[in-house]
């Protein structure tokens, strides 16, 4: 978008060289003023405009108006243009394009009429007859002269003609200029990759990746990434465990670049980091456990479609950039900023593929229920992330159930295997209901509450059957039972032994979302880790841009 200074604003000062080794300054503008004419040699619209500027110079230079051409070309191409149009005013060379960038126009020619104190009196880019007429009128008025008859009924000029792209917008130049403009906002230490080193190998050798190549976080890429958020680069997003070091928006952006994120994903990564670094989520524990848990990120709300978070076919799989990189960015933050590395603080016995990345969206359009984030207190129009400390997805296969009651039983029995079938009174689990299964529930008018109740019903077993015994020494241990279930010896009472105990401590621990492709009567669940206030609880945060 053009940033050409509008009338009333103050134009940037500059000092540029010319073709003879001299210097042309625009610092103080003497009355009556100065006209700047930005051009490049291979631009038809510049060719259209140049003779008009020459005629304006003939008319108003005698009244003191100063004319300065600013060329975007090197000296030789500048000379081609100057000779072609017999320009006899000062020509400044802006081959580095810094002044063009400061003036911010998208196209050449760009004309800027300045009064004293570099106040802009008129400006436009490209060619528009009315703009030119207005500028000429201003210039004449400024000089106290008659308006020269340049734009007339018989001038043969087109009504308008688009300009040619400013060279400052050439992709390679634009990146360089963006760094010049924005590098000051970046405070991270600069690291110079040795000449002849492959940047990918260099980053891997520094231990800054996750085993897959990372994108080198150059200033250009990080500045582009920061365009994805309105937040200041120096804002602290969170203190990242295990070292509890502050992660600024800039550090999040650097790691998002490395993960392969697009700028529009950055607010999601920021929200996920905020959510994961809460006491409730307990990222330190999630990271340090020998168990399988890792942050599972669920995206809800309008942003899913805007940034194309896959919530359909293969949603936990490969092939979708948002899914692949948002989760990866959070993992890299933990590794690089928080200092959490496998084998060090990360003590997971087996780990799981989701520790590279795990980010999915909910398929809200095919859900018969209100989506996860609405259930958790947000409006449908709000975009959110929910982080959940989860295992890898596990299958629930049921192609035969045609009633919600039967399907609910299938889900319950599959869920009972979470961690261990004899472990009951468990905490949170994330149940991902596929669209085909969701349709079965919808047909029977089954609510989420009905499904939760059914799961608890079919998994409820007498405590006696769940205790460790000779058949299987694993089981629900008495230590975690409510005090009134136990006798003076700390062991369950006879009454408690007969009490049916469902899989989950409370039905609200069963988090339900809809997701996946429309073909396949398969759902999935992601088992939780130590849940509750003494472990990790799912946390939902609004995504703010």
């Amino acid at each position: 978008m053009s940033r050409l200074p509008a009338a009333g604003s103050t134009a940037p000062a500059f000092s540029l060289g010319d073709r003879t080794g001299g210097q042309i300054d625009l610092i103080e503008v003497a009355a009556p003023g100065t006209l700047l004419f930005f051009f490049k040699h291979d631009c038809d619209t510049c060719d259209l405009t140049a003779p008009l500027v020459v005629r304006l110079q003939d008319a108003l230079a005698p009244s003191g108006l100063r004319f300065v051409g600013v060329s975007q070309d090197d000296p030789s191409h500048t000379t081609v243009f100057v000779d072609r149009h017999q320009l006899n005013f000062s020509i400044a060379l802006d081959s580095e394009l810094h002044v063009s960038d400061d003036y911010g126009f998208d196209a050449v020619p760009a004309l800027v009429l300045l009064g004293p104190d570099r106040q802009v009196l008129a400006s436009y880019e490209g060619f528009a007859r009315t703009d030119l007429a207005g500028l000429i009128e201003f210039a004449a008025e400024q000089c106290g002269a008659e308006t020269p008859p340049i734009v007339t009924e018989s001038d043969g000029l087109p009504k308008m003609r688009p300009g040619c792209g400013s060279k400052a917008h050439n992709p390679d130049v634009a990146q360089r200029l963006a760094v010049r403009r924005g590098a000051a906002v970046l405070s991270a230490r600069r690291v110079r990759v040795p000449v002849d080193d492959d940047p990918f190998e260099f980053l891997a050798a520094q231990g800054l990746g996750d085993g897959l190549p990372v994108v080198p976080p150059t200033e250009e890429r990080v500045l582009r990434m920061l365009e994805g958020t309105s937040r200041s680069p120096s804002d602290v997003v969170a203190h990242i465990p295990p070292n509890l070091t502050p992660a600024t928006v800039e550090k999040v952006a650097i790691n998002a670049v490395m993960a392969g994120c697009l700028p529009e994903y950055l607010p999601v990564v920021i929200a996920a980091a905020e959510a994961a670094c809460t006491d409730e989520f307990n990222l330190h524990g999630v990271l340090a456990t020998t168990y399988f848990a890792t942050p599972v990120i669920v995206v809800n709300g309008p942003i899913r479609d805007e940034i194309d978070v896959n919530c359909g076919r293969n949603m936990f799989g490969q092939g979708f950039r948002a899914n692949a990189t948002i989760g990866r960015a959070l993992q890299l933050l933990v590794r690089n900023v928080g200092g959490g590395r496998p084998g060090d603080v990360d003590m997971s016995t087996l780990g799981q593929p989701g520790k590279f990345t795990c980010c999915v969206g909910e398929r809200e359009d095919l859900s018969p229920w209100e989506p996860l984030h609405v259930e958790r207190g947000f409006s449908p129009e709000t975009s959110t992330v929910t982080v959940f400390a989860g295992e890898a997805p596990r299958a629930i296969r049921d192609q035969l159930s045609r009633s919600a009651r039967s399907l609910g039983a299938s889900m319950g029995w599959c869920l009972e295997t979470m961690a261990h079938p004899k472990l009951h009174r468990m905490g949170e689990v994330l149940l991902v209901v596929s669209p085909e299964h969701a349709r079965t529930f919808k047909a029977d008018g089954y609510s989420k509450a009905d499904l939760r109740a059914r799961i608890q019903e079919v998994t409820a077993r007498p405590l006696r059957d769940l205790l460790p015994n000779d058949e299987c020494q694993k089981g629900t241990v008495p230590v975690g039972l409510p005090p009134d279930w136990k006798g003076p010896d700390g062991q369950p009472t006879e009454e408690a032994l007969a009490r049916p105990v469902p899989k989950f401590k409370q039905s609200s621990d069963i988090l339900i979302m809809v997701g996946g492709g429309t073909a396949g009567k398969f759902s999935a669940f992601l088992g939780g880790w130590a849940s509750g206030t003494m472990g990790s609880m799912a946390v939902t945060r609004e995504i703010c841009r």
Binding site: R192, L203, T245, P246, K251, M258, G285, V337, M534
Partner: protein, 95 residues
């Protein structure tokens, strides 16, 4: 490649604080802290450790301590208690 690439440091840019384990005592003198990290059956393990220690070292002062949960780092008051009261600690991981 002819030009060297400049990248931004993705880390916290903090030098890790160098910490060295405390000097190990030549002999076990109290007070000795037995810390249960709150995993199931940690008490079973520590009870046995305590029984063996008391059999061998009847004069050893033993302090039993417990983390609120194994899922989180020790709270600062527990760390302060260990630092102020214990000459050595044994921490039990159980299950």
């Amino acid at each position: 490649m002819s030009e060297s690439l400049v990248i931004l440091d993705p880390t916290a840019e903090q030098e890790p604080i160098g910490r060295h384990p405390a000097t190990r005592p030549d002999q076990l003198t109290g007070p000795l802290g037995l810390i249960d990290i709150a995993k199931p059956r940690g008490d079973v393990f520590l009870n046995e450790v305590e029984r063996l220690l008391r059999a061998d070292l009847p004069d050893l002062e033993i302090i039993r301590l417990r983390k609120p949960t194994y899922t989180k780092p020790s709270p600062s008051d527990l760390r302060a208690e260990v630092a102020s009261r214990c000459r050595a600690v044994i921490q039990a991981l159980a299950d």
